[in-house]
Amino acid sequence: MLCLTCPCCGVIAEETEFQPGGEAHLKRIGPGGSDVEFEAYLFARRNLRGVHFERWRHAYGCGKWFLAARDTVTLQVYATYPAQTTEPPQNVVDAIRAARPDWTADWTSDPHPERNSAE
């Protein structure tokens, strides 16, 4: 069972106290975006084997959303951090690097949404 630390209230709790919320740092394409960009925002996912940035909500606690860096293969949680950020803070990147020196930092939204189009 996963144990997560809620960065909002500081409680360390088991995963049953939290609600998973999917991939983090997705960049919403604003008014004027193309259908392709909007489709990528809504549906295209990295779904990585390895370091994964994701959203969680402390559903049976303080109720607030936060973000986590977690490994989808080992289930190791590298760090949790507040959701009010567009990219992982340096201490989170450092924590991942400490455990996974070979890790290439990348949390970007799909840079090439047009490549997902099958006609």
Partner: protein
């Protein structure tokens, strides 16, 4: 090219013949070939769906220059990890068409493959345990009538008649009725993979195990080859049929899929005397149960809510599932559980599969079967073979293209079937 050794036809006469010579004459069921430099079609993933795709490419389209690559062992992924439930009681027309095709193919698959897949159409009940489910399943029955899929709504008394060990009264989860499909049932999951593999090998196809794809070569938007742990293998067409690892392979080809991978788990009890001869699914509590031929109670549970590649599952989901099932089936409360395992399933937003062309010419994907792929194996292979052979989807696959996500043409089965597929 060396021709594959034919495995010989299985029959009562073959058994009698072998009995007289100490069973010395049985051949390997499928060959273990060295990969060639090039194939017309390369299929990644020798699970049920990949092997069925290859089989119908050969049988329906005469394409036999095919390799099926498997990173582990044959049928060692979700094909060997599911709870073997077969049914076609889906709500949407597109789903009913492909799942019912699949069920129809399953009914004669042992004869087609000359391999006993132990198909057991013992009947299947989806329990309605809330008023919402009663309305939902009645709606499905009406939809199935229009689709020509035979299902019926049954009242609690009939449920009790079919499943004497059930407790109808709850109190948390009362049984208010059920969606019954008499044609539904189970099959031996390994045998489905083995039967298809043997038939593919007999047609001269190469089933190559321990061969992991590590890269996909493309040139001017067209697939050229795959790089594997057993060397570079060229191909005209490439099919990715790898369930939970679809995103990983799509990434090698340079595109992203609307898929998230999560762990789904199951467990089996110690074997007991026959006590339940139908499959019972309880979607409200995310539990489903059948009894295997060995007497084990096979129990399927829910999925983890987060991205996960561990093939393990988690304790609290086992507890939730079993706690609820014990109320509905009080006699299982003292059963010891023998094994628990997990598989990595590929979930789409609308809980329907993807059979599609991709942005890269010559690459086709078959994925997104999520928690319910086993039942779909023959129909999926049939539709996928048509897609690969013609380069465009036939009637069964047409609705399941990737473009449905842009166009908003979802095939919304999450409402129809709950979590348990």
């Amino acid at each position: 090219m060396t021709t594959a050794t034919r495995s010989g036809r299985y029959s009562v006469f073959a058994i009698a013949r072998e009995a007289f010579r100490q069973h010395q004459g049985w051949q390997r069921a499928w060959a273990d070939p060295q990969p060639k430099d090039r194939y017309k079609v390369v299929i990644v993933g020798a699970g049920g769906h990949g092997l069925a795709t290859a089989y119908y490419l050969g049988r329906n389209f005469g394409i036999t220059d095919v390799a099926i690559l498997e990173k582990g062992w044959l049928g060692g992924g979700n094909t060997g990890r599911n709870t073997t439930i077969i049914r076609s009681n889906y709500l949407q027309d597109a789903s009913a068409a492909i799942y019912n095709k699949s069920l129809t193919l399953y009914e004669t698959l042992s004869q087609d493959l000359n391999y006993n897949i132990m198909f057991s159409p013992r009947g299947l009940i989806m329990l309605a345990q809330t008023e919402h489910e009663v309305r939902g399943y009645k709606r499905t029955v009406y939809a199935n009538m229009l689709q020509g899929v035979s299902t019926e709504w049954i009242e609690p008394a009939r449920v009790k008649e079919l499943v004497p060990i059930i407790n109808l009264d709850g109190p948390r989860y009362p049984v208010l009725g059920g969606l019954y499909q008499a044609r539904g049932g189970t099959a031996r999951h390994d045998a489905v993979a083995w039967g298809y593999a043997r038939a593919c090998s007999d047609m001269g196809m190469h089933v190559i195990q321990n061969c992991e794809v590590q890269g996909i070569e493309t040139e001017a938007g067209q697939v050229r080859a795959v790089n594997t742990t057993r060397g570079r293998i060229g191909c005209d067409k490439l099919a990715l049929v790898v369930a939970g690892h679809s995103s990983h392979l799509a990434d090698m080809a340079g595109f992203r899929l609307p898929i998230e991978s999560v762990a789904l788990q199951a467990l089996v009890s110690e074997p007991i005397k026959p006590c339940m001869d139908v499959v019972v699914m309880a979607n409200t509590v995310h539990g489903y149960m059948s009894q295997s031929d060995k007497g084990e109670m096979v129990i399927g549970g829910g999925t983890d809510g987060f991205n996960n590649f561990t093939q393990r599952g988690s304790w609290h989901h086992v507890e939730e599932t079993v706690r609820a099932l014990v109320e509905t089936f009080p006699m299982i409360s003292r059963l010891k559980m023998l094994r628990q395992w997990g598989g990595i399933v590929d979930m789409t937003g609308d809980r329907s599969p993807i059979l599609s062309t991709t942005p890269v010419g010559g690459i086709y994907v078959n994925c997104g079967w999520g928690t319910g792929g086993f039942k779909a194996i023959p129909g999926s292979g049939w539709a996928m073979a048509e897609l690969i052979a013609n380069g465009r989807p036939g009637p069964l696959a047409a609705a399941f293209g990737l473009n449905r996500f842009r166009e908003g043409r979802f095939i919304d089965e999450s409402v129809a079937a709950g979590v348990a597929h």
